[in-house]
Amino acid sequence: MLRNFKVLMPASLNEALYVINNIDRPFRFLAGGTDVLVRLKDNPSYAQALIDISKIGELAKIEEHKSTFVIGSGVRHEALLAYAPFIENYNGLIEAVSAIGSPQIRALATVGGNIGNASPAGDSIGPLMAFDAEVELRSQDTNRIVKLEDFFTGPGKTVLKHNEIITKIILPKSDSLKSGWKRLGQRRAVAISKVSVTLALGFAKHSNGSDRVNDVRIALGAVAPTVIRARKAEKFLLENQTLTKAVVKEACRLVAKEARPITDIRSNTEYRSEMCGVLLGDLIEKLACAR
């Protein structure tokens, strides 16, 4: 049984911002609770106070704007998976979020929680980063927008200040991108990824009528202290434009070199690096053939 912490229940975002500005002890946010309660069970000193933001309605909305979708940090994974525009145009995001936990966990866990938790293996982060998502961070007096790519500073570490809350995830519209996500894990459900790769590709016609690549985004999960973009492999594919066998092979080699994985209980350095290349190859084939 859990013990030794107190709980605060702000009813609105403003109350929550006031509370975290004034609280006198170390705290954690309780959004979905699927990570926090597990950590507290393992380690009772993980938090002296929980601030339950799970019922703040203004954090739980998805809005469509002219050039962006704005996802409230409290939106649950299940709700994201049911949102029609994402199903239509953000396949990589849908594939990744469908693989998080289990149906029971996706009904509770939130998008903001997966980001705030800052796991290098956080499955929703790769696709969001590939789509150039940003996060809005608010405190009582400030409001700033940070690129998701700049948000993480290490495993479990972010630029979020003690008096800030992640309020929104801003996702640029990208109707022209085809995307996919693949991972390797111990099993298909309730597993932490050993490696995950997100790929998003944009295509255009060459003057000679053949297809060329005009936009490339690659994100790698669980192979560095944070989720990362594989900029060298992206640049290489963009410069070569045509996805010949040799180009794909070289991109896979490059992406394996960009990964900086560690050996831990789930996998080892060599395997993780090599699998980045294998998964990227699979995704290129899938996206190029699916058109």
Binding site: E15, G32, T34
Partner: protein, 178 residues
Amino acid sequence: MPNRNFTAENLQLKDNIDICFKLNSRDVKIKVPCTYTLLDILRYELKHTGTKEGCGMGECGACTVIMDGGIVNACLVLATAVSGRDIWTIEGVSAKEDAKPIIDAFVAKTATQCGFCTPGMIMASYYLLSKYKDPTDEQILEGLSGNLCRCTGYAKIVEAVKAAARELNGAKKEARDA
């Protein structure tokens, strides 16, 4: 008070909390420690012990309950999040007419051995069959992916869910034809 729109109550650190929620269509009002999970409330306060505690960490699904129409792990829902919810446990669901074919199929197909995972499996199956009338193997495996069984090897559980789907669809067809 920092702002007259704030409710002082919401800004206090709490050890205990009064909560009201619906459990199997009945209203429950109870005071519990804030550190309690929904699972603790069900088992220790309300003595609804059909919901099992396996891992206590959201991996095994033995504590699966229905909350506001979807399945969740009761061990991952803190007391503060229970207020105002509509909760169904195995005690309530097993009394429902449309759950009977599922329970009968689990028995008929020997989909239960030690029985510890069974309440959670029935809850997940019940939810699955409310979503898909005639689920594919893939949908069944995905629907039960949050529930571990260390006895059966799952084959019999999948068979039971399929048999229950046939029975439920047949029963509806008979009702229509009658």
